[in-house]
């Protein structure tokens, strides 16, 4: 058998579905950091973010037969994690708002793995600095675009909005950030 580490996500999913469910561990390993980072940007509470990601993996496993390999697995799993995060935000809205500045985002932001993929460092820095000031509606696409480096199409698939809608939200988020940056200066 081909080395599982070299398999595409979609092929790996097919193997999990048809041959060996334990291979699902490889999928979890591939995505847990990325999902945790993304969910943490949204809900800003480490424990809740971990719970959300864990639930997302479990839900993804339960519904794995419903995943079409014509889709991109990455968008599919992000979508599930996104929904979990939104459910947690709705459930613990008050708590999460209070926790706004207390979350340990720097632990993840300092991860060199992210930094080396940064093409526009200054923009990213600005975004990170003002991310928590953005409404959730704008925080989602801008996190996915600048920090998770997803394409507009992938973001559309994750957030279930049109590509045009993604562009609009990202532009608005950038404007808010620029405004806040100018005000600070």
């Amino acid at each position: 058998m081909e080395n599982i580490e070299n398999l595409s996500d979609e092929k790996l999913v097919e193997l999990v579905r048809t041959k060996d469910q334990e291979l699902y561990a490889e999928i979890v390993k591939r995505y847990q950091d990325r999902l945790l980072r993304y969910v943490l940007y949204l809900i800003k509470n480490k424990q809740k973010a971990e719970d959300a990601v864990q639930n997302a993996f479990i839900k993804a496993f339960i519904n794995l037969m419903g995943f079409s390999t014509k889709q991109k697995f990455s968008s599919w799993i992000y979508r599930i994690a996104h929904n979990e995060a939104i459910n947690i935000i709705k459930k613990h809205r008050k708590e999460i708002l209070l926790d706004r500045d207390g979350w340990d985002r720097h632990q993840l932001l300092e991860d060199r793995h992210i930094y080396k993929q940064v093409s526009d460092k200054e923009t990213k820095e600005q975004i990170k600095r003002y991310l928590s000031a953005l409404p959730l509606k704008y925080r989602e696409p801008i996190t996915l675009f600048y920090l998770e480096e997803k394409s507009y199409k992938e973001i559309g698939d994750i957030l279930r909005i049109s590509v045009g809608g993604v562009g609009t939200r990202i532009n608005r988020a950038k404007k808010i950030i620029q405004k806040k940056n100018i005000l600070k200066k």
């Binding site: 469910q21 699902y24 561990a25 979890v28 971990e50 990601v53 519904n63 037969m65 590509v163």
Partner: protein, 246 residues
Amino acid sequence: MAKTKDQKNKKIVTEVMQEIKKKNVKMKPRIFFVISSLLLSFGLFLSIALASFLINLISFRLRVHAPFQYLRFGRPGYLPFLHVFPWPMLILAIASIVIGIVIIRKYDISYKKSFWGIAIGLIVFAIIFGLIIDKTGINERASKFPPMREMYHRESVGPDWLAGKIIQVSERQLTLLTPFEKKIIVRWDEDTLFPLGSDFIEDQQVRIIGQWQGEVFIAKGIDIGDHRLPMRPAPFEENMPMDFRR
């Protein structure tokens, strides 16, 4: 830090895989998703078909019962208008369209299209398809069958109004047949309002406001079919009760 991260990562993998190994979580079978998808498609088809059928019925009822014509009587026509207008069908058609839109939103591809585009498209499709069904004349045939009549017609006899088909014309008197085949004698007097420029003939549909005197209905105003001319008081020249042309 690296250690912490590894431990954290290990925790998620371990916990997820433990749940899977213990069979606490199981994959839903493929058939579940196939059936869900089929049900979704069937639901969408059903909601669009129902909306189109209801719009077809509304079109039929507006055409045959012409509720808006009652408004020509002024205030006395409001109640019969409210009674005859196909409100339940309208509400059900709107509900079907809303259900159709909700179902479309559940499809994976729907978010790539504009919501208003989908909603307007569905409404326009249901209206056009409904009107086409009505044009085929199927309603006229179906409405003659007793089990279907209830759906197509509503008994149009109220405390101060009625509607039906003229089956007999005599001096100052009409015999009407209601949609549910009730025969009613209608009489008029010098104060009755009539449509300008026409006579009564058999098989004509009329809408009448007035009041009951026992079994007989005394008309205050009579409107014919889809007559759109203004109304005027009844002519009462001798020997020409049916000629309103003065």
